[in-house]
Amino acid sequence: MTASSRYRIAVAGAGLLGRLLAWQLLRDGHAVTLYDAGDLDTPPAAAWAAAGMVAPLAETVVGERCVYAMGRVALERWPQWLTELAAPQLWHQQGSLVVAHPQDENELTQFRRDLDDAIGEPGGYRALDAAGVQALEPGLTGFRQGLFLAAEAHLDNRELLGRLLAAIRELGGECHAHAPVEARPGEIETDAGRRAFDLVLDCRGHGARPRHPTLRGVRGETLHVHTDEVALSRPVRLMHPRYQLYVVPKPGGRFVIGATSIESEDRSPISLQSSLELASALTTLSPAFAEARILEQGVNLRPAFRDNLPHVTREDGLIGANGLFRHGYLLAPAVVDHVLAEIRGEGQRPFAAVLSAAAPQESLS
């Protein structure tokens, strides 16, 4: 394809990747049709349930080095995209804070060591004492130590998903909700029949499992609460020997606390055990959370390949992007850059070594 061509492109899956790609391709002048199996205003996507953290340092501790490199792209791309979407206020680059209770301070030491080792150079964070934690987040109580990761950010993800959908519609994108599809090379099949396209993008996440024998869903549970008694300016990550949970502030006194990570494709409601863990972690950050109101209990499946890294597959007339696991907002910009470079026919596709590589064992299964 060349940059000047105008193509008919179908995007299957209106989660984060699907919306970003649809929006960018419309801006490139293509005719885009977006399909989703669920609702578009409250989508059943992992991106809706997520907390919207963009934390390349903290996430690399539990992931691969390339997560850090791709995550740095996100720190550049998001403010730029949000400005283009006329919604720069959804981006918050206030850093993130990692804390542990006094009895679990070893966890903080381990985290710091893993961070140095994962990033390959010390730095990128500042160690805080009790006064330092208080100065940053007066809402927290009882922490003697913390780490401040100044470069990290978070965004108001639900508002962003709404803004993307509005932009897609404004640019003339055709949107189909409640329309489960089969994605094939150059063809989309729905209940209504088959429709030919020049290119099909499969961004269905866990919904694309039939096409990917090694793709699996990893259950994540979250609590959404509301309180006006506590204010946080940035995501706070609580290190605990058994649970590693985070709280992310959202507009209007809302907080998202997450997330469990269970190797199961169970979509049933949150378990009492998980609910207790999430809620007790929250109350130990500040007792004032005790009177917060539970607005929502989220459950979703994070799509993951066996290396828990994203991969892009390509055949004539069909590109699939999947496997963002727990790193949707962190890795989507790099994956979008990669797919757009492919469609625009640019020679250099960013992060090709990771993203263009086949998912491990995918061909053997």
Binding site: V62, G63, E64, Q110, D114, D117, A118, R216, G217, R219, P241, R242, I262, E263, S264, E265, D266, S268, S271, Q273, S274, A304, R306, D307, N308, L309, P360, Q361
Partner: protein, 270 residues
Amino acid sequence: MNTLNDAHDDALVLYGEAFTSRFLLGTALYPSPMVMQEAIAAAGCDMLTLGLRRQNPAGGDGEAFWQILRESGCRLLPNTAGCRSAREAITLAEMSRELFDTPWIKLEVIGDDYNLQPDPFGLLEAARELIDQGFKVLPYCTDDLVLCQRLREAGCQALMPWGAPIGTGRGLMNRYALGTLRERLDVPLIIDAGLGAPSQAAEAMEMGFDGVLLNTAVARARRPAQMAAAFARAIEAGREAFRAGLMERRQTASPSTPTLGQPFWHTGQQ
């Protein structure tokens, strides 16, 4: 049961079945399934434990992950981690027997939420019931001699005493109690939980323990496969040392090179 022959004269025998590796590995906490698969390969283990409690096992929703474990070719040892009563553990064991078509169960009944210490009373109750039902029970227990004797009497043909509380990496906290278990019990004993370093695993094997079960120390290492390989060698070294027979410690120094006939000027004066 495999026939023991010269090549396998040091097999670990549990419930009449021989295993070539004395390294059992848990399957939680890895950064990704691929990293876990590499660790399994590096460990060279024959048995993997897996937790089911939180996966909604009755719905079969953990199938994608279980498939990865099956591909390892290792025997799967479902556990009852997260169960706090004998009844809960028994129900989960029954479910896991159906799901995995196996009578093997690593039995855990947790008595304390903070240090995840086994509940000896619930454990014994559940072990009795499951043995009656024909399960091959591997109970995760404390290092209490009388509890271990009762589990043995209940029909457990192998026991899994802790080295230290789960995930603490503290090693063999009570060598005296563990030494007593080794002297007094005639069944395979596998140190389960609390090991953090290969040296600790080697020490357990040198003491005559029959195997080691690890999870956190491998999964939470920065390079899990490399750590699994390190543990595998330590476990083999410890076993070799035990079979070779360790010397007794002595109070008096005894030179390994005979000093008779050495000239005086070698005794320290310059």
